[in-house]
């Protein structure tokens, strides 16, 4: 917007600063928790790494090499020191730095999660708006029942059903891997369809429901009646004014869904062998690859915080009253 005033800029900076300050304790807790929890997973990383034939002596040497026989506290302090210097440690199963592994896998995860979110917004929001405008119509009933089914479906069940029906029975879509642009654009799309559908269903249903209820509250407001009294076209009344008024709860829910899409991606990627962060975490847990588990979880926590920051910033822009009240001016 052309005329964002100083006060608004200050608000934005304040919000960013607030979130960054929050980031420190959040990360500390996440690091500590994952550190403790990963070490509670039964099984010895050195033994798993060396395979069933390894002798106890080999395993002991390996443990020494990996630094796993040092006291827990020392390992923890070392890890914290490393993180503070931007060193996420080294993955024992890939024998590579954790950070580079994560950065390599992240795009694949973003590809399906962001596609799903965008689709969910563009499908769910209009359905919610139409349902609200045509409250109690056949359209409203049908889509709200579908949405109810959508939000209550477990993601792994949905994923397995999609595989069973569209891939095994009908053979329409590939299920393994992410395809490659060398085989043409269609190959990529074809591989994306099922995981994206899987990740899109719940958010679409959620967005449709929240949009509908928020719109229903808004359309009965005096300000909407006043717009109609001014002869503003109904399409503008609904899609410009009412929708913008109805946005705040929707933005919150989009943020929440985006964050949970990353955790949903772990299941989805495993079902569809999609080589993203989810698969990475899955294999890390499987291999007791402590550094990798910790790094990946930490990374997701950082993403959570940033999604929240973005939600806060969008709030500031779309809803002037948040700005006003947050500023503490009378």
């Amino acid at each position: 917007m052309a005329d964002i005033d100083n006060e608004q800029v200050i608000q934005v900076l304040k919000t960013i600063l607030k979130r960054l300050v929050q980031l420190v304790p959040i990360l500390f807790v996440v690091i500590t928790l994952t550190f403790v929890l990963t070490r509670m997973i039964p099984g010895n990383p050195a033994a798993i790494l060396l395979g069933p034939q390894a002798s106890p002596a080999d395993i002991a040497r390996m443990q020494e090499e990996l630094g796993l026989n040092k006291p827990m506290l020392e390992q923890y302090v070392n890890y914290l020191t490393g993180i503070s210097q931007g060193d996420f440690g080294k993955s024992i199963s890939y024998n590579r730095p954790v950070l580079s592994l994560i950065l390599e896998r992240l795009p694949a995860t973003l590809q399906i999660t962001l596609t799903s979110m965008v689709l969910a917004v563009f499908i769910g929001v209009p359905i919610g708006v139409f349902s609200a405008v045509k409250q109690y119509s056949a359209f409203d009933y049908i889509f709200m029942i579908l949405a109810l089914v959508g939000v209550s479906m477990p993601i792994f069940w949905l994923g397995l059903m999609l595989v069973l029906v569209f891939s095994v029975k009908l053979g329409w879509f590939a299920v393994l891997g992410m395809g490659s642009l060398q085989n043409g654009f269609w190959d990529v799309v074809q591989h994306m369809v099922l995981p994206v559908v899987c990740l899109t269903t719940i958010p679409t249903a959620t967005f449709a429901r929240i949009t509908r209820s928020s719109m229903l509250e808004v359309v009965n407001k005096e300000s909407i009646k006043a717009l109609r009294a001014r002869g503003i076209r109904e399409s503008l009344v609904i899609w410009k004014h009412a929708l913008k008024n109805a946005l705040p709860p929707l933005i919150t829910v989009i943020g929440m869904q985006l964050a949970s899409a990353f955790s949903g991606a772990i299941l989805t990627e495993t079902i569809f062998s999609w080589p993203g962060m989810g698969m990475l975490i899955y294999s890390a847990v499987f291999n007791r690859d402590y550094a990798l588990i910790q790094g990946a979880v930490l990374f997701i926590a950082i993403i959570f915080v940033f999604v929240n920051l973005i939600v806060d910033l969008i709030y500031l822009v779309i809803n002037p009253r948040v700005n006003y009240e947050g500023g503490g001016t009378p």
Partner: protein, 336 residues
């Protein structure tokens, strides 16, 4: 040019709800001339707002005009196409609502809302519309109109907001303004300013104003004609001077008694009309006021009193007011 701008004949607007049909407006007729200010007074729930909204068909889904005729400046408002109706709303007919804070969109800037309105009705560029908007804000007495254009509604006081709304209402040179309790939500001093502004619009631009209020004081100050409503019907309708000099309906008397007067000795108590307004699902078949009327007679519970012209230009709906002046204010059922 025809002097008459609005003609309403036997308007009936009902609400169809799960608990029954509410006859919110049940056979209301009146006419207004160009440049005239007409008042509609009555207690809460008497159907004033619904009457006003019906004129431009601005009704919720549950409500509909079931009978009657609304002719505005040659347009048959009940039959006119939606597209034509939208053209009239906001340009020829503007509406001002009770609460200025809630009748602007809270998430858009004042200027954007004004420009949107102006460009909806007039073929102007963004810059021209901007200039018109600033000019209108200036006209209604808003200081620093340019900087107000960038404000959100919550950044203005109630009085300022109502000025903005009036600026919007006149920005497309309307012929007719419906003002539904435009000052009820405002401080007394601001009230006077807003009323003065509306009166100025009539005097200088010749706009007709339908002024809805439950404050008879405002009617005395502003209006040329007055309609008193009760339970969705007209109980008294006449010129302001006539009503002032010779109010005839028992309900009007009740309203007058419940109105504070500067001339009254301070010890005199205000008498609120006892009882509550009728359930609009049950009206009809009797005088709607009979259960609260001190002058009530047997016939009042049995027949709807017709609206009759008891003296030239003075219409009253009361079984006991037929022009022969048998019923006198204050002499409660003296011959019982």
């Amino acid at each position: 040019m025809n002097d008459q701008i609005l003609q309403v004949n036997n308007l009936k607007t009902y609400f169809f709800t799960a608990s029954g049909t509410a006859k919110a407006v049940d056979g209301v007729s009146f006419t207004m001339n160009r440049g005239q200010i007409m008042g509609i007074v009555g207690e809460s729930g008497s159907g004033k707002s619904v009457t006003a909204s019906s004129l431009i068909r601005l009704l919720p889904k549950t409500g509909s005009i079931v009978d009657g005729e609304v002719i505005f400046d040659g347009h048959d408002m009940r039959r006119i196409a939606n597209r034509e109706l939208l053209k009239l709303r906001g340009s020829e007919i503007s509406m001002i609502f009770q609460d200025p804070m809630t009748s602007l969109d809270p998430v858009f800037k004042i200027g954007d809302q004004m420009i949107e309105l102006i460009r909806t009705h007039k073929n102007l560029s963004q810059q021209e519309a901007y200039r018109t908007a600033v000019e209108m804000l200036h006209l209604v007495g808003i200081p620093e109109p340019e900087s107000r254009m960038n404000a959100y509604p919550h950044e203005l006081s109630g009085g300022m907001c109502q000025r903005v709304i009036i600026a919007m209402a006149i920005s497309c040179q309307p012929k007719f303004i419906i003002a539904d309790e435009p000052t009820t939500a405002l401080d007394v001093t601001v009230q006077a300013q807003i009323l003065g502004l509306l009166k100025k619009l009539r005097d200088e631009m010749g706009v007709s104003i339908l002024m809805i209020t439950h404050n008879l004081g405002i009617v005395w100050e502003m209006c040329d004609t007055v309609m008193v409503m009760y339970g969705g019907t007209t109980v008294e309708y006449t010129e302001m001077a006539q009503l002032y000099a010779n109010p005839l309906h028992p309900y009007t008397w009740g309203l007058l008694d419940s109105m504070p007067r500067l001339s009254a000795p301070p010890v005199e108590e205000l008498k609120a009309i006892p009882g509550t307004p009728p359930d609009l699902r049950l009206t009809g078949g009797c005088c709607a006021f009979y259960n609260r009327c001190p002058y009530m007679r047997e016939i009042c519970a049995k027949e709807v009193p017709p609206l009759v012209e008891v003296e030239p230009g003075h219409l009253v709906a009361c079984h006991r007011q037929n022009g022969d002046k048998t019923l006198v204010r204050g002499e409660v059922n003296q011959d019982d």
